[in-house]
Symmetry: C2
Subunit: 519 residues, 2 copies
């Protein structure tokens, strides 16, 4: 058996059954093996950043790793931004990067580059397989390592793929989930019982219903305030799910949410810091004098919260959000009326992939009482995440509708994701918020105190503007095989969404909304 | 003066007057400074890989560095593939990567990553500026280093941009071009005069008319064979320019070109190696027993060749290619008839950016006798180069028509380059060879000896196929503001090209051609 087939067989044996790929010459043996090893679904993407984002979305919704097949250093480079987001989301993923044959590297052929250095910047586990006999062992280890919530990267030279060999029998590998730290639970309970203002910040695996229920039970009994990390990998919310407020993106908002806290308990979330630094403003958002307690890391946070809830709030159950949709608005579309339309129509069980950025400012409030749904967010801040992640989410949850909320600027990063949505006939409805600008940067230009920020000059504004020419997402989507329409009133958005949710397969709606910033 | 303004002022002083940008929050002070420092043209791209590819194309045609402005690690990651190509092209470029404020890094905010590690994989010079007083010095050094033909990467923390400071006076910096190695010239002359079969392989700065003239003079006098490296950064050719054959991409072809050579003289080119390794085939393409002589590296190769020509072929002048165009073909379009149409109509002084890959197989022969033109090629093999490079080439040579020959698969990597072509109203005519497949990989699948390669299975073929759904480049281009049409006959291609060359501004022609591979 050659190395490629051994690798593929091992991945399938380990439960990895989807591979998002953009292969090249050095991966052709892996590609050929797809027809001889049953059980792996190969999905072509037209750009590596789509493959890595799709694997992230898949992992968030399935809880298990997908494989990604990339071509040498440039292929990995193209996939890095969404691997960065995946690293921040603590999702499992197995990235296979083909490399030149071992003996070919010294010739410094045109595609030679330092793959290992790139891989280490985003991966929790990296290994270069140098002998075909090791490839099954390496694949077992890669999958096991990834299940702890990291990107595992296997670098596989072409000759290791094409050589035949006797695979070494893999040893059982495992990264057991961390146990509950009883001391940390006791310390958190003491803080909660102290009677002083306490905030419980949840993240990691505590943003699904069980962790949220435990957190809300604690809050309802002790008077603590529950907040959710700003960018959860996967947040369950809506009617029937305990509601938690997310920590604000802008530091001023987060400071207001945390003001007065004397204890801050971290359950799966990192200690709150400003997304960016701003002149004269603090980076660390923990209020002065507030004591920070780490209850649990991103993995095992839900279990620790449940033990804590049984300690401080025994026998209670958490309140849940009621079903409460906004009325359908009418008239010219705005960011807020678009959000209301979405809140009014969001289907039961939807998966909302949210990269709507500034234009999505009203969505969280408008959907708080919609039927239960999941939200996937931009964990690492590297834009170009949403449309690829929607591919993976739709494949992991084929019976659930996926709503991909997308900013126009971010959409252009990985727009070819639409083609894969069409090819795989995925049930993804994409709403592009078309405000014709990098609106977030128009806001940030002022917030960072840049010179002339109040009255920016034409050169600066031109770098933040997406007009001239206007992007026509209807044509772009149709050019990639996704039916699309443009709307500029709330009524038309409602009609378009209703139709898209009713029909299987991908759809795109360009929702024209005004910029939030006057320029 | 704040750091951003100091940086911008210094870059302009050093002759850098174009900046391809996709900025974020950490670069807002640089963006604002564009309105206070005259002399820098900021050009927005919708993806970082477009910015880096544009800077490469600009450098190849202008001979000088452009600046690139990128946002943190993910922005640099998105730009890496075209920085890889630029590294292989030995072009000057100054990449400015904004980073978190110095004091903010320890908080591991969501966008934090190892920028330095990424930068080192593609850059010949990397520096992180830690004090605003140093930024002018660092910028002078970056520009000087880049002029030796490397990517210089400056990592600029946000607080260094926004702090005010007294800039340290830069020391004069320089990287003088390497002088001619007289011993190497003598050794090459001896080889040429030895009377045994000798090949002169030219590359680097010897692929413009002066170097080519010297090489052809040498060949015509001594009987040596001149070959050009497979992927020259910029090759001058066509009527009035000495003609050289390029070393073939596939190793079998290159071996046939080199067979029998007893001396191989490298003038700006690397010793020939196979692009990829193939089972049972050599990586090193130098014939057994052939002696290799290094006349010059990529820089200074033309000068060394001129001295060598004056030594072995004094008083001669080189033959040049005659003006000789193919007749305009008719009928259904094929890769070869499309090439003939291009050869028949290529305007005088055109800049041809060639990422046509397999479908462009006939273009070199068909344009050999077209009026003098330049060809930019995919030096590093990282696809997604052509449409961005066309931006830079058009800006560096605004009076020359740019013809961007593009494979459909590669086009989708950085397709948003079309939007920047439209915004800047660049005179770029893009021809997409639409064969609906990664044809090169269909060929490579067989060449690497993959199992079942002769009759690949449906899973393998599906990963190499760009149909289902068919990409509609006319809609995609129109969606980004570039007028477009689709042609499937030679007559229609001729009409479309004639019209596009006559009208200023960008145009796109989707030329539907059959795949070269039967599947």
């Amino acid at each position: 058996m050659n190395g490629a087939r051994s690798l593929l067989t091992t991945l399938v044996d380990q439960g990895v059954d989807v591979c998002f790929a953009n292969p090249g010459t050095s991966e052709m043996h892996f590609v050929a093996a797809l027809d001889t090893v049953p059980g792996m679904r190969g999905v072509l993407t037209l750009f590596e950043g789509v493959a890595t984002g799709a694997a992230d979305g898949y992992a968030r919704m399935s809880g298990k790793p997908a494989a990604v097949l990339l071509h040498l250093g440039p292929g990995l480079g193209n996939g890095l931004a969404n691997l960065h987001n995946a690293r921040r989301a603590h999702v499992p993923m197995v990235v296979v990067v083909g490399d030149h044959a071992t003996y070919h590297k010294k010739y410094d052929a045109p595609l030679e580059s330092d793959i290992d250095a790139l891989a280490h910047t985003v991966s929790g586990w990296v290994r270069r397989t140098l002998d075909v006999g090791d490839i099954a062992v390496d694949a077992v280890d890669a999958v096991a390592a990834s299940r702890a919530g990291v990107v595992s990267t296997m670098i596989v030279p072409a000759d290791v793929s094409w050589n035949d060999g006797e695979p070494t029998e893999p040893l059982p590998a495992g990264h057991p989930a961390p146990g509950i730290d009883d001391d940390a639970v006791r310390e958190a309970a003491d803080a909660l019982n102290s009677g002083v203002p306490t905030v419980l910040l949840v993240g990691g695996d505590a943003t699904l219903a069980p962790g949220l229920s435990a957190a809300v039970r604690i809050a309802e009994r002790t008077g603590a305030k529950v907040l959710c990390e700003t960018f959860p990998a996967r947040l369950q919310r809506g009617a029937g799910v305990p509601a938690v407020e997310r920590l604000a993106y802008f530091a001023e908002g987060a400071e207001a949410q945390l003001v007065g806290a004397e204890h801050l308990i971290l359950a799966g979330a990192a200690s709150p810091v400003s997304f960016f630094a701003y002149p004269g403003r603090p980076s660390d958002l923990v209020p002065q004098g507030c004591e920070v307690h780490v209850l649990a890391g991103h993995s095992g946070a839900a279990a620790a919260l449940e033990q804590l809830a049984d300690d401080v709030a025994p026998g209670t159950t958490a309140s849940v959000a009621p079903l409460m949709r906004p009325d359908l608005p009418t008239g010219e579309l705005t960011a807020f009326s678009a959000a209301a339309v979405i809140g009014a129509l969001l289907p039961e069980g939807a998966v909302v992939v949210d990269e709507s950025n500034t234009a999505g400012v009203g969505v969280a409030a408008a959907t708080a009482g919609a039927p239960g749904h999941d939200v996937l967010t931009l964990t690492g801040g590297a834009i170009g995440y949403g449309m690829p992640a929607a591919i993976g989410a739709a494949m992991a949850a084929p019976d659930r509708p996926v709503l991909s909320l997308q900013a126009d600027g971010s959409a252009m990063y990985t727009v070819s994701a639409l083609w894969t949505q069409a090819r795989e006939n995925l049930d993804v409805t994409t709403v592009i918020f078309g405000n014709g600008a990098y609106d977030i940067l128009r806001i940030e230009l002022q917030r960072v105190g840049a010179e002339n920020a109040a009255t920016p000059g034409p050169s600066a504004l031109r770098l933040l503007d997406l007009g001239s020419p206007t992007l026509d997402f209807v044509k772009i989507a149709e050019g990639m095989g996704v039916p699309a329409r443009r709307v500029s009133t709330a009524e038309d958005l409602a009609a378009a969404l209703t139709e898209a949710f009713a029909a299987p397969g991908p759809h795109l709606i360009e929702a024209v909304v005004p910029s939030l910033v006057n320029t």
